[in-house]
Amino acid sequence: MMHRVLLPFEFSEPVTVAEAVSLVDGDRARALAGGVDLVLKLRLRQIVPERVVSLQKVRGLDHVRVDADAGGQAAAAGGRAEDGALHIGALATLRQVETAPAVRQRWPLLAEAIGSIVSVQTKAMGTVAGNLCVGTPASDVAPALYALGARMRIAGRDGEREIPIEQFFLDAGKTAVGPHEIVTEIVVPAPAAGSAGAFLKLSMTSEDIAKVNAAVMLTLAGGVCARAAISVGSAAPTPVRAAAAEKALTGRAIGAQAITEAADAAAEAVCPISDVRSTARYRKEMVRVLVRDALEKAAARAAAGKEA
């Protein structure tokens, strides 16, 4: 239930990651980044923490930077590719990432996904990491990061760990961040040469959470799909990596037939619910339509040589 004001809590402003994780304690001591989600939850009394730990003064978390690119060879080899990767600090705002020239040039799929969030204030205040930490499958950023193969860096009292983003979302509203942990960084590998992506979203109005969204990344070589990443949001308790759909495309010539099969497989892979925004039946059908439309768009962009 919404309230006009918040219940009291203690407040800390650590300046290092180590200090922050020593204070953070699940729902008893919650981390605050941009506040767009946490403060709303406090108003709704969905959480009543004893302490709020602001990360806003922690050093070294507000960066958006790209590692020096060693010719993209590591990425093309399919192995771990720190080189050329995009590093998004936990305090980097959505707007910061959306407008970073490097992101617009080399990870336009991510810029496109953030662009679908139209509230300027939300993007000026809210962080990319915070958006993911809400744990909602309706995140617009998550499917794009899934399709880009992002990894999450999480710091705890025992040090840092790194997990692929597919292991980050556990259930609706639940992430892999432990009670004494915070996300410090999101690492997004450089897309391979010949890649292009597309992000699409259906919602009631422009300023709205998705009924369904989808992000795809295609790597084409001579009209053949070398690699496909397809991710769908708002259609299951977590964002979904449509593996069967990806398999339906990989190694095949990109065309209407392959795309249709992939879209059908994606629709099979989801289990949406009916809620205030839409119905399960509609969402499932729209997964098919959006994935197909996104694949067509990505394929066209790849063919045109745009990195999209």
């Binding site: 919404m2 006009r4 509203g173 109005t205 422009s206 839409s278 509609y282």
Partner: protein, 801 residues
């Protein structure tokens, strides 16, 4: 009121796009809305709202709340006067026989919760933090009762009774007052009969300013209320005679800046609770609410389920119209009766028909209650009627434009309130100009044309009539006062409700034109019932027409007084003089002038026997409601794979009579169009059918348009002055909303051959209807949407986040 002696070639204020006097303060943040006002010693009030849709209070313990330091008062049903009232303040303007039909079923606080959000207790404390903590300390034991959330279920035998003594939950039945003829015989005799059924969603007013009220009793038992009220003089009566028994003279109503009304402020909001808290606490109390509480609570459009049948002759003449309305009143009667009545009037009153039958049944349920919402029944009825009209046109093979022009009433014929004949009607010009603007001739290709491809375009139209005031069916009069100041400026005392529609500027322009003063020198005095004279206030799109006529009357009298004194000064006859821009001039030689300021000052500083403060009272009382008319057109593009309707263009052609301020009039129509688009496509107050909880209780889930959602809207103002309007003006305030949904619905049929029977026309429903008619979507009979509607009604409150 005629406006002879004013020449429209020489208007100084009327017709100009002038800035309004109240907006600079709004642009600087200086304007004070209710929540911005602080009084010495003021407490903050919060209301405890029921979490159950239907429950008796078995036990309520406020002792812990009362004991909290900083709490000044805690009240429950036990503390309030046992005087029932209707939430509808506007009802005070009904003639007594009709008022008796308004159920006085409301108390300041309830002993039985009848909807989720019903008001069970309230606290007043030193600050909002303490007030909210006090709410948490109130312990209520509810005896939960079976509830009913569907009006048809509420009518069944054995359904839970929402109000004791109303076993069948029928809150009221209204027969349309102008029923005539034998409907079944007339339909049987018709060459073609069409029928269309449907329902609308409970659209929220969603004014940006949440409800608020401040109440303060003085030492003599006089109550002052500050609230965003649309009819303050009626509210004064309702509070002084119904809620409390203190008399109208002991209530002073102050209206601060109002952040949007749209009809919501025609009902009591939190004012009675604020007054009760202030009485008990002995200090002023400001009651504030959250947006969530507003969504869950006490006003919205009613949901009306309707069937309309139209019978036509072979040549496309309407010979019978029937309308049946089942209205979900919600938990309290409020406006549900009057909305249904106005629905039938405006719906059954647009077209000529020898046989007419309308009947409305209002039903109690455990859903939230209603208040006025823009259009007040007209958007509800038009969505059904204008689709039935298109169906009839199709049966006759007629162009929808032609069919409407053939059957719509015109000058000299009975208006929608039949005892009055139309004195003006520019509908044909609206239709023609609107059709031209949308490109109807080229874009409407005829009935049964199947479009191809994934994205299919269509055009549709709708017409409507609306009142410019409630003359003839509600109390309808206004009084205005103009008094001159010594410097040639004037105070204009009027009592509309300026809630954004720009009425203060409009009335100032009328005053300036009528008196001959400069627009910039008109100072408006408003918003205080101790100062202003009785006025119904703002509703029924009446303010320009009715209050404008009162201002015109006062202005002409002031002008006459100025000329009378000036004539003596200038040794001429008054007829030989004119007044313009604050200067009196000789018509024969305009170089000879005296300023109004001089006249006014000399009148006051008269040391002889002829001192005068030049002022006049103007009145308007009229049984005319001077309807306005409008034609609306929509061009849309439908994605047959997603069901998404993209509105490419809207054209709205309005019969305004005279646009006193075209900038203001356009603004009203554009804003109405935005609400019409929401009503048509995106705004859905979703209520969980298991619990009665409003699931869409925030702007995140109840979707009004953002800046990126507005399509291109073209406004056409057709000016054929009405002889009875001030400078020929007619009403416009509510009207922009009404034609949007039906014109889009008719365009949908043109594009893909299906009709959606419930609002909003979401992509889910459109896709469901497309699937039901088969993949070819060949235009044909309207598709029933039982599948899609069933899914919509089965939505449960299980959000992702």
């Amino acid at each position: 009121m005629t406006t002879d002696a004013f020449s429209e070639d020489a208007f100084s204020s009327v017709g100009r796009r002038l800035g309004r006097p109240d907006v600079a303060a709004k642009a600087t943040g200086a304007a004070l809305y209710g929540a911005d006002i602080t009084l010495p010693g003021m407490l903050i009030g919060r209301i405890l709202m029921s979490p159950h849709a239907h429950a008796r209070v078995a036990k309520i313990d406020v002792s812990k709340a009362k004991a909290l330091p900083g709490v000044a008062a805690v009240i429950t049903y036990d503390d309030v006067p046992k005087r029932g009232f209707t939430r509808s303040v506007m009802a005070e303007g009904l003639p007594s026989f009709a008022y008796e039909g308004e159920n006085q079923d409301q108390f300041i606080l309830s002993d039985k919760a009848r909807y989720i959000g019903d008001w069970m207790a309230a606290v007043a404390a030193v600050d909002v933090y303490t007030a909210e903590r006090a709410l948490d300390l109130i312990e209520v034991e509810y005896e939960v009762l079976p509830a009913v959330f569907d009006p048809e279920e509420a009518l069944e035998d054995g359904a839970p009774a929402v109000h004791d003594g109303w076993k069948d939950n029928v809150a009221g039945i209204i027969d349309h007052p102008f029923n005539r003829g034998d409907i079944e015989a007339a339909l049987a005799a018709s060459a073609h009969v069409v029928e269309f059924s449907g329902r609308n969603s409970r659209q929220k007013q969603a004014h940006m300013e949440p409800d608020v009220a401040i109440a303060s009793w003085d030492s003599q038992g006089r109550l002052t209320v500050w609230s965003p009220c649309q009819n303050a003089h009626l509210a004064k009566k309702a509070m002084g005679r119904r809620v409390f028994d203190i008399g109208e003279g002991n209530v002073r109503w102050i209206t601060p800046a109002v952040g949007g009304g749209f009809g919501a402020r025609l009902s009591f909001g939190v004012e009675p609770v604020a007054a009760m808290l202030a009485k008990v606490a002995g200090k002023p109390v400001k009651v504030v609410v959250t947006r969530e509480e507003d969504f869950n609570g006490w006003n919205s459009r009613t949901e009306q389920r309707q069937t309309i049948r139209i019978g036509v002759t072979e040549d496309g003449t309407i010979n019978a119209i029937e309308q049946n309305v089942l209205s979900d009143a919600g938990a309290y009667f409020s406006h549900s009766g009057t909305i249904s009545a106005v629905n039938m009037q405006s719906t059954l009153g647009v077209f000529r028909s020898p046989v007419v039958r309308g009947k409305a049944t209002m039903v109690y349920t455990n859903n939230p209650t209603s208040s006025g919402m823009r259009g007040y029944g007209n958007p509800e009825g038009s969505f059904i009627l204008q689709q039935a009209v298109d169906m009839a046109a199709e049966k006759c093979g007629m162009n929808p434009v032609e069919f409407r022009l053939k059957n719509a009433k015109g000058v000299g014929e009975p208006s929608m309130w039949e005892p009055q004949n139309l004195t003006s009607c520019a509908l044909p010009a609206c239709v023609e100009q609107g059709a031209e603007a949308i490109g109807w001739k080229d874009k409407w290709q005829g009935w049964g044309v199947e479009k191809q491809g994934r994205y299919r375009r269509g055009v549709g139209m709708s017409i409507m009539t609306h009142a410019s005031g409630a003359g003839g069916f509600l109390l309808e009069h206004s009084t205005a006062v103009i008094k001159l100041n010594e410097d040639g400026s004037a105070q204009l005392s009027v009592s509309p409700c300026e809630m954004g529609q720009g009425i203060l500027g409009t009335l100032s322009q009328i005053a300036a034109e009528a008196t001959g003063l400069r627009y910039e020198n008109i100072r408006v005095v408003t918003g205080d019932t101790d100062v202003t004279l009785f006025d119904i206030g703002t509703h029924a799109s009446r303010s320009t027409y009715a209050i404008g006529n009162a201002v015109l009357d006062a202005g002409k009298k002031v002008r006459a007084a100025i000329l009378h004194r000036a004539a003596r000064r200038m040794d001429l006859f008054p007829e030989e003089l004119g007044v313009r821009d604050g200067m009196v001039y000789a018509k024969a030689d305009p170089g000879i002038t005296i300023s109004v300021a001089d006249i006014s000052r000399e009148a006051i500083y008269d040391y002889g026997t002829d001192a005068e403060h030049i002022m006049a009272t103007g009145k308007h009382q009229c049984v005319m409601h001077c309807p306005n008319f409008q034609a609306g057109f929509a061009e849309i593009e439908v994605d047959v794979e997603t069901g998404v309707i993209k509105v490419l263009r809207l054209v709205i052609a309005h019969d305004i009579g005279r646009a006193i301020n075209p900038l203001t009039v356009e603004g009203c129509l554009e804003g109405g169009a935005a609400q019409g688009l929401g009503y048509a496509l995106t705004e859905d107050l979703v209520i969980d059918r298991q619990t009665g909880k409003v699931v869409s209780d925030s702007f995140a889930t109840y979707k009004i348009l953002s800046s990126l959602d507005m399509p291109e809207v073209e406004i056409i103002l057709v000016e054929e002055p009405d002889p009875t309007g001030p400078f020929g003006a007619k009403g416009v305030g509510e009207t922009g909303i009404t034609n949007v949904a039906p014109s889009i619905a008719n365009a949908l049929y043109d594009a893909v051959g299906i009709r959606v029977h419930s609002l909003p026309m979401t992509p889910e429903k459109v896709l469901g209807a497309l699937e039901a008619t088969g993949p070819s979507t060949r235009p044909g009979p309207s598709a029933r949407l039982s599948v899609a509607i069933g899914e919509v009604q089965a939505r449960k409150a299980v959000p992702y986040s």
